[in-house]
Symmetry: C2
Subunit: 216 residues, 2 copies
Amino acid sequence: MNNLQDKLHYTFQNPARLEEALTHKSAGRLNNERLEFLGDAVLNLVIADALLKQHCKLKEGVLSRMRADLVKGETLAKLAQTIDLGAHIKLGAGERKSGGQARTSILADALEAILGAVYLDGGILSAQKVTLALYENELKHAEPRKDAKTTLQEILQAKKQAPASYEVTKTLGKQHDKAFYVTCTVGKLQSLGQGKTRKAAEQLAAEAMLEKLKKK
Amino acid sequence: MNNLQDKLHYTFQNPARLEEALTHKSAGRLNNERLEFLGDAVLNLVIADALLKQHCKLKEGVLSRMRADLVKGETLAKLAQTIDLGAHIKLGAGERKSGGQARTSILADALEAILGAVYLDGGILSAQKVTLALYENELKHAEPRKDAKTTLQEILQAKKQAPASYEVTKTLGKQHDKAFYVTCTVGKLQSLGQGKTRKAAEQLAAEAMLEKLKKK
């Protein structure tokens, strides 16, 4: 565990917090789920803050997509591997046998839990330092990416295909708590998206369509 | 604006930040969207931290639902009204004429932007103080609520109806980026849910079903 603390550049005042962060729910009742809840919020704030300061001119929507890429499970799991986190995670017997220590979600959750534990142990500034050190490279190379509808439109244009059409096929709920269901159609292919606004549902439908086109 | 700062119990070192937070996108290019992105993250962390410390025994899923209720648009708009925020928001002419200063989303976004502005101006501890002062009552009265599937089950049991059935009607995407589409059926009624896991999609379908039953 000292090895892990070295890699994090952080020494816990109360090492029990680190242990809790390293305990997967398969290993017992005092596990890392609560710390993960906190760590997820720490991570989202630290990355939002870093992106905002690094990119003075980018709009909220672009920053939001950049952050989503940085905080998603795959990115977290990749970073967890750079500090050999899997070797330190406590798993139940079943999870251990099936190779749980290498699973994306288990690695990602444990890393978030560690950030939550550092936050409780040393405050937000310590958690920020640990996060920024882990994310140094990722933040350096983070680039704005286009939204899914724009990407889809460009792909279809390049192939000289007709543009995608979007149709709201269903709405549920009341004024402030609506769900929109949108169907995206490209030729004979259809994909679905659901969101709190029409725009959000269209983006999700476009993302699903991009997945379908990749598989073709 | 001094009046508003009094109500927030915070005085800005750089009042331009407060002005930016109060400028809706309809009023100009330098508006509060970037600050709202940051403030949303500040709010999520401060509330996660407060709930975690206040409720030592509650599981992550319960805390997560409690937070969702506290940070949603309606709650933010209600709190915005307690400090008479609408009167200070700068809107474009069209939005002003149509009563934008009273709209839930405009109030909620501006309040989040203010939290982002306080964070930039005075650091996380100042932002935490302002947030906790605003949320004092809400946090005091926050209660665990059951998840949508459980609530639906209890309602149907009380009415002596058959339980809801859930069916995955579609899955899209690959291993780590899946979307599940679930249909919930209660008698002749059907509702849809989409999520990254089967469980999440079922919960959303159950929420949609609860909405439908309310309207009946």
